[in-house]
Symmetry: C2
Subunit: 261 residues, 2 copies
């Protein structure tokens, strides 16, 4: 029932048969692309079978990461984008003065690495928060293929644009919301993204610490913890460490839409 709590187990799912050992069939291609690219987040939406097959060639190589391992770090040369197949990541920035901030949490079906395109080097760190697997998309090949395939080109542009809009939303959160509003927005966002991926909207397991949540939301960990406690007292959620159950989602939404003042 509570499948949302178990995605880590997907790690141990049997590997797909080694592609190179088999004739490439539409079945394995579909499997490969439907895994890493659920829903509309994906680069492959709307592609013909033939086009999908080209994309799949490009995306052939994968990489597994253990919890706490970095996918890339600030300054690493930019070579590829990464589509998350399974697992959970954070991106963060660390300034010389010790200041750091989590700039995002990413889950299956989302694309990492676009920060590196502009300067040929990554501008943030991407760290796995649980054992994870990504598909490696060499960027120059993606550009080449998207010169051939209009739909792919447009999909990629949409992905980048949505990322811009997501960032705008986060700025709004950081610039105008109070602690409880921020946390409510965060929980609703998580819930919505888990739902999109077929997990429970009401019950899930957070992969990040209070400190990481706080960093993302521009709050201290104690403030996050207190807000969790208050939500629990008010019957909005049930918290037990990293396990969250949303009891009154509408109540959380009301927190958001309420007058700032």
């Amino acid at each position: 029932m509570d499948q949302s709590d178990k995605p880590t187990e997907r790690e141990s799912e049997p590997e797909l048969p080694n592609k190179s050992a088999l004739p490439i069939s539409l079945v394995t291609i579909k499997a490969a692309c439907s895994q890493c690219s659920l829903h509309e987040l994906c680069l492959s939406e709307g592609l013909s079978k033939e086009e999908l097959s080209k994309l799949d060639n490009l995306v052939g190589s994968r990489r597994k990461l253990k919890r706490q391992q970095s996918l890339y770090r600030v300054g690493d040369p930019f070579e590829a984008l990464y589509a998350i197949r399974t697992g959970f990541f954070k991106t963060d920035i660390l300034l010389e003065d010790g200041r750091d901030q989590v700039t995002g949490f990413q889950m299956a079906g989302e694309i990492l690495g676009m920060d590196g395109i502009g300067t040929e080097a990554h501008s943030c760190n991407a760290v796995a928060l649980e054992d994870s697997e990504v598909c490696i998309i060499p960027f120059s090949q993606l550009e080449q293929l998207s010169r051939e395939i209009q739909t792919l080109q447009h999909n990629f542009h949409k992905v980048m644009s949505r990322e811009l809009v997501r960032d705008q939303g986060l700025m709004m959160l950081l610039g105008t919301m109070r602690a409880e509003e921020r946390l409510a927005a965060f929980l609703l966002n998580m819930s919505q993204r888990f739902t999109t991926r077929g997990y429970s909207a009401a019950e899930f397991h957070l992969r990040m610490t209070r400190e990481e949540i706080g960093s993302y939301l521009g709050l201290k960990l104690e403030t996050v913890s207190r807000a969790f406690s208050r939500f629990q007292e008010e019957g909005l959620i049930a918290v037990q460490q990293k396990h969250i159950r949303i009891i009154d989602g509408d109540g959380l939404k009301r927190l958001l839409n309420h007058q700032p003042r």
Copy 2:
């Protein structure tokens, strides 16, 4: 001497001769593209003359805006990107509950509208803060041309990626910096961008109100005003309403790199 104070006068510069009345010459093309796309921000960097000419065809149409006029609004159907030729813009978001936030200030050579690609509709408002002129870049044509011209494609991807990185920086600012640090970062950023455009690094005229600065930085206008005053007392800058002179730029930088605590 203080040219930084006068960019508005560029508004009244004589229009280029009507292109359709003349054979397209490399001169007018160069003039058109070198105007709107100073430096590396531009989509046209590294293009051959022939390629530039194709881009210029695409970018033919322009639009003038008076101060306070909207270039586009939330929900407007997305059709084109806009390259700022002259003038100064802000983008902002307004929530139902009255909350609003400035998400960016844009000046000549920068590109507006990328927020609309992902959903086919704009997700923010773009408003001219002084009389301005933009080049209209119909997006489907840009995609088409960037399927032909690899360099153009890559330039566009770089522009979007840099926007992502800019947003990361702003998140860092909103999430971890204190009021004076935020304002120092803002002033240094403005100074740097004016410099890039050939204006004075030390002296410039802000086009936005204290309230707009505050909204952008996640502060109230009074806090912005007080920080300006304190900088002045400390001999870092000279403020007179919207006119700013940076006296001790290194002092401002020191404010930034200092331990957060």
